[in-house]
């Protein structure tokens, strides 16, 4: 009812201009419009901020094994790793290869891929070794593609 009143009020103000084609907006329409504007401006504002705030450093990939979190399940050892992109540009197809050498036989090798790693983003992965990573030498290499 109050909306109808609002509409009447605004219509009275405009006095039927534009040969009745143009209708005055109701309170509900104004609210919807303002919310819409706020949403669109938030998106555009965020993107403009990104244009200026985002650096242009190429990806810098850091692979950090979390040795303190190694856990044993049966005969296997579960090792978590944090893979971080310390650069600004996005890295695509980040491939990490791990090698665990315990001095007994051939080193154990493992590899996995992270599809995308944005600037500043960290992904956590878990790999499973037959030997305890805490008791051997763990080395890693990584490759990526800049899209």
């Amino acid at each position: 009812m109050s909306d109808d009143r609002d509409r009447d009020k605004t219509q009275a103000k405009e006095g039927g201009q534009d040969n009745g084609e143009k209708k005055e907006r109701t309170t509900a329409e104004w609210v919807s419009l303002l919310v819409s504007l706020a949403i669109v401006l938030a998106l555009v504002g965020g993107l403009i901020y990104q244009v200026f705030a985002r650096g242009s450093r190429p990806p810098i990939i850091e692979v950090k094994p979390l040795m303190e979190e190694v856990r044993q399940e049966g005969d296997s050892y579960y090792l978590s790793l944090d893979i971080t992109n310390n650069g600004d540009r996005t890295a695509e197809n980040v491939e990490v290869m791990l090698s665990l050498d315990t001095g007994q036989g051939d080193p154990e090798t493992m590899q996995f891929q992270v599809q995308f790693l944005d600037g500043g983003e960290t992904e956590n992965q878990t790999v499973i070794f037959q030997n305890n990573p805490a008791e051997g030498e763990l080395t890693h290499t990584a490759s990526f593609h800049v899209p």
Partner: protein
């Protein structure tokens, strides 16, 4: 449309629900396309802004000719385009959140990127659904009658429809891996055949299929004669396809011209079909 006694809040909610339904109806395939998520990750913010601007322009065009509200002034059309964009943003955010393709802890760039690349199809869906569900038909009749015998206005209207349809389909397919894959496999002869096929299909949709009253068309703009309309709208579709490929980094101006042409021709087919369908349906 809505009864005068219906509450304005109810009517507004109906309009939003209508727009949202259209967004999901037309945009959901792209929400489930992984190339779209990836493109959101690596597209530069400036390009994302261009996508928002293109989405706004396309929605403005649709609002002018067949929006989901009844108003008609330019300002009202601008506002309606803003509302369609907002519907696109909300729909994109909600679905990507539920599908776990964005999360609170994501970097701002990938969050905004993934949401933004979906805004174009979703917001166009919000605007276009109304046309296809006939809510805009009165308005289109009005637009047609206003055009009357003015061939240039008729041409402009057809141009707008072609761009809208080509944008909608072209932007949906441009990010996919299939475009460069198909383009790489085309011989020059097949490229010529693709041009012929694109022209034949769009001619058929608009002038032979029986979908459109245009078969006994009465308008006489330079864009309206079957052969000239088919070829000129194909050129428009190719331009839209090229723009879409540029925005989604599928073509690079430094790559060999034949490769750019091949990709544009590949995407030109669906874009031309989209343009033709829009001219028939809207």
């Amino acid at each position: 449309m809505s009864k005068p006694q219906a509450g304005s809040w109810q009517k507004e909610l109906d309009d939003i629900a209508h727009g949202m339904s259209g967004a999901f109806l037309f945009g959901v395939p792209l929400l489930f396309t992984m190339e779209m998520w990836w493109i959101g990750n690596y597209t530069e913010p400036l390009r994302l802004l261009i996508i928002v601007a293109v989405a706004f322009g396309a929605n403005l065009m649709l609002a002018a000719f067949a929006g989901f509200k009844e108003e008609r002034s330019f300002f009202a059309n601008v506002l309606q385009a803003v509302e369609a964009l907002a519907i696109g943003v909300v729909a994109s955010t909600v679905v990507l959140l539920v599908l776990n393709q964005i999360g609170i802890g994501d970097p701002m760039h990938s969050l905004l990127g993934r949401i933004t690349v979906q805004v174009l199809p979703l917001s166009l869906g919000a605007s276009a659904a109304n046309v296809l569900l006939s809510r805009g038909s009165d308005k289109m009749d009005e637009a047609e009658s206003e055009i009357g015998g003015n061939p240039w206005k008729a041409t402009l209207l057809d141009l707008a429809r072609t761009i809208g349809g080509a944008l909608f389909i072209g932007f949906s397919i441009a990010p996919t891996e299939e475009v460069p894959m198909l383009a790489a496999q085309l011989s020059p002869g097949q490229e010529l055949a693709l041009i012929g096929l694109s022209l034949a299909i769009t001619y058929m949709i608009v002038f032979v299929s029986g979908f459109s009253p245009r078969e006994q068309d009465q308008s006489h703009g330079p864009f309206q004669r079957p052969i000239s309309e088919t070829t000129s709208s194909y050129i428009v579709a190719l331009l839209v396809a090229f723009g879409a490929l540029l925005i989604f980094s599928q073509v690079d101006l430094s790559e060999p011209l034949p490769s750019i042409v091949a990709k544009t021709l590949v995407l030109g087919l669906p874009a031309a079909i989209g343009g033709a369908a829009a001219r028939v349906l809207i």
